[in-house]
Symmetry: C2
């Protein structure tokens, strides 16, 4: 396989002049029932990806296929799967697909079987979760655990939190919700204190998550929690704290913790939801079977992502459609709009996944990007958003491409009909109506009531948001972001942009003399100095 340094970006392709001259189609002229039936494909986990309301013509799609082939996007994915060092800056492999059983088989590199390592940690955490759930493992006071608190930030928070909320009610309906989960992330002590005020600390399991074991926020929150436990319960914190970390971290094999579960350097923070980082809290709270369903769904999406035909590969197609919106139609932001309250924090997870992966300006060949890279990603659930920022999406001066997500069934039982329809049907009627309103608009003599339409969207739709659908949804976006990184020739797996802030924070905390007047003046203003 070719040296990653030799990859190129889409704008360096001979196809780029024609591709970049593509113009948006007029959705009013082309969107019809036939297109809706044709522009749809499976996305794994029972999900379908509908792209009928994307405003690009068939010729542009042909060029995208040619570009995908020329840039060898699927080859690059296979390199990821086979354990090539695809995170070049940090000299690391990228192995999160192996967490759910890589579609390319076991990952064995230089005699080390990484797949076996991840599987054994999964088995260990599942057994641990079972013991917590069935009461075999109890507090040092002999009580069963009722709550679990994850202490972590970034990838150790957003993904696990989004996934927990996504299937909490589903698991409750299935009788699988045994412990209520909570999350402490911010170094702001008001965050931890608010969570502690809402739980019975004596009956709470705390999961400390930090791959390096040195994350400032997480260690500060651990100290706060330990101090609180000591004062409040007098119990031995070591009997209530478990760690998820790497085997080389100070938290590993440490008697200050009840147990430790391991990941390694090849699981990036924002790609770690399907590792022990997400797996332990989800398994403890909602059952190992819930987490396993997430893994199964993710594996389905990973498998589909191997397809070289972009019309059979939802993640790849989604990635390429996003590039058209960003670099050809010049639309610098995109909204994620799940029509289910359970996905309330999923946009925040995607915001991290996408913006931290591809918010970069230096390519893998060390040259500056000649075209724009990752977009701004934001979103809130519908129908809430309809009463909020949808005004701008409908009638603002800029066009924002939209990513709808929906499900046909509830997670919970109680849904009495009101005024002739269930709430579920109202929800999905709204989803339907919004897609059409954005695409087609409606003319009106009053310019304030004019809707020009032509606002493109995609839709990921499934029957029910269960673990399997959720896993596929998660992996769909992970793979989409990965493919976009390949298209822009970026390293999507490092995050050098967060380093400078860390260094300057240490400088402020160390109060290292007069030095920098700007840092001093702001430090004085914020009270940090």
């Amino acid at each position: 396989m070719q040296n990653p340094h030799k990859y190129s970006a889409i704008d360096q392709s001979p196809l780029w002049p024609e591709l970049s001259a593509s113009k948006p189609e007029k959705l009013r002229e082309v969107l019809n029932a036939q297109r809706i039936h044709e522009r749809i494909l499976p996305a794994g986990g029972g999900l379908s990806y509908s792209w009928a309301a994307m405003d690009l013509a068939d010729r542009t799609v042909e060029l995208l296929q040619a570009a995908a082939d020329e840039l060898r996007l699927i080859d690059q994915y296979r390199q990821v799967l086979s354990g090539q060092v695809m995170n070049r800056g940090e000299k690391r492999m990228v192995l999160h697909h192996a967490l759910r059983g890589s579609p390319a088989g076991r990952v064995v590199v230089d005699g080390v079987d990484y797949s076996a390592f991840y599987a054994s940690e999964l088995a260990r955490l599942s057994a641990f979760a079972d013991k917590i759930r069935n009461g075999e493992l109890r507090t040092s006071g002999g009580k069963t655990f009722t709550d679990v608190v994850q202490i972590g930030i970034g990838g150790s928070d957003l993904g696990p939190r989004a996934l927990y909320l996504a299937v909490e009610q589903q698991a409750r309906s299935a009788g699988l919700l045994k412990l209520q989960a909570h999350f402490i992330s911010n170094v702001d002590p008001d965050d931890a204190n608010a969570v502690l005020a809402g739980i019975d600390a004596e009956r709470t399991l705390f999961i400390l998550v930090s791959k390096s074991g040195t994350t400032q926020e997480t260690l500060a929150n651990e100290a706060l929690v330990r101090s609180y436990l000591q004062q409040k319960t007098g119990l031995d914190a070591a009997k209530q704290l478990v760690a998820v970390t790497s085997q080389t971290s100070p938290l590993a094999n440490n008697p200050s913790y009840l147990d430790s579960f391991y990941i390694d350097d090849y699981i990036g923070g924002r790609y770690s939801a399907t590792s022990a980082v997400g797996g332990l809290v989800l398994s403890v709270a909602l059952g190992p079977e819930t987490f396993q369903a997430i893994l199964d769904g993710a594996a389905e999406a990973d498998e589909l992502a191997l397809n070289t035909d972009i019309l059979k590969n939802a993640a790849l197609l989604d990635a390429l459609l996003g590039v058209v919106q960003r670099n050809i139609f010049m639309r610098p932001s995109t909204a994620v709009l799940p029509y289910t309250q359970a996905l309330s924090r999923f946009p925040a997870h995607l915001q991290q996944l996408d913006m931290e992966s591809n918010g970069k300006q230096i390519r893998r060949d060390d040259q500056p990007c000649a075209i724009a890279s990752g977009p701004v990603v934001f979103g809130e659930p519908g129908t809430n958003g309809q009463h909020s920022f949808f005004q701008l999406l409908h009638q603002g001066t800029d066009i924002i491409p939209l990513q709808f997500i929906g499900f046909r069934e509830n997670q919970t039982e109680n849904d009495p009909p009101f005024e002739g329809s269930t709430a579920r049907r109202k929800l999905n009627a709204n989803l339907t109506a919004q897609i059409v309103a954005f695409a087609l608009g409606k003319d009106d003599a009053d310019p304030n009531k004019q809707f020009a339409g032509g606002r493109p969207s995609t839709l990921l739709i499934g029957d029910r948001l269960d673990g399997r659908a959720l896993g596929a949804l998660l992996a769909h976006y992970e793979n989409k972001v990965m493919f976009q990184g390949f298209v822009w020739n970026l390293n999507s797996f490092d995050q050098e942009g967060v380093q400078l802030g860390k260094k300057l924070t240490q400088k402020v905390l160390a109060e290292t003399g007069p030095g920098d007047e700007v840092l001093e003046a702001y430090g004085w203003l914020t009270g940090a100095l």
Copy 2:
């Protein structure tokens, strides 16, 4: 005063050619301690607004002052305060400032004293809240209320929810948190069912909020909650439900509710947080004194906003700086970054406030905007964001102007020092470091570690996030958005962009025959048909 039709947009001003030719300053060259000490002004409620790290030169600021004068922005604000029909499309006055005591005095129009009406409703809801809190008013089973659930969407949800979370821990520390508040908004029944699963319904007060009394989501959720109460508790729902609505709505004076509190058509949804819409739930949960402090802080910011000198008017200056970023430096989105977990939902409220108010393309003179209007607004609390989308903010291909918010003190007590500093100090050291890292960057021989700097920001900073600071923060942004609407000559107080979706939803629910094949095909796909 002049007819609003005669107002003009900033790009129609004779000042525009010079103003729009302004170039960003190089922050590395101009940012120093003196600038940080000079470019700061009070924003009300003890807050200061620092704009040293905004990249515009003094000459541009002079032109902005001249533009503010020429566009008569303060005159227009005075017209709002005096009860002119500033929401022209809907033919309504805009009276939310009167909710907290307008700085221009009582609003009496055609013999009707609106200020008196709002004050009397405030007195009524405060008395009601006291009775709930002191146990005078009890459930029909004779128990005291422990929880309160607000049922509302959009402005009846985002603002009240953001404000509640913002001062919940502050009120707890002060011994004022008597009832825990929860919010049901989405028509998705899983939202209501999740909230109901977490409370003791028998001891919960439900507040139904809908100005018109016809909001689809809110009525559907009411029906769901009533049905649940009947099945679960067998109690009389009418003894646990209160309404916040207009006097002409079907919910007014209705024996199905324990009581009703009133607003009117002159309080727009997204501007209603300081009305009974936010006031009842906040007063019941956190005490009338907490809500009064919010009103007092808002009144302070409203008063400052009357200043014609843009260097003494933080809301106006913030508005104009935003216009420079949007229309001159061509930066189409902006991030709100509160360094306090208590403001976790404040960005979502601002997203609504800003994008629903100014996400428009038709001016008040019915002509299309010739320049871009409202930006995309998004954000999450720091330090969480640092481990997420800050990568793109630091090193992405686009520059995103940043709005930091910070406080010098905690809301809660427990903050043990760890590794030489409290968590609060770590939090504010991070805030300091980020502002400086974005502005100045840092050169590095490795292009992946290069930070170009030149990423502008503002900072709203106060001592402690209490009710008064929160009220000022809220009103600062309300007034900022209003001023930007004036600058673009938009009606910031209507929301025609949400109407088409509503109509199409009704069409789907009514299943009105073959009609529209696109609506049908999507309705089939989502399961709505």
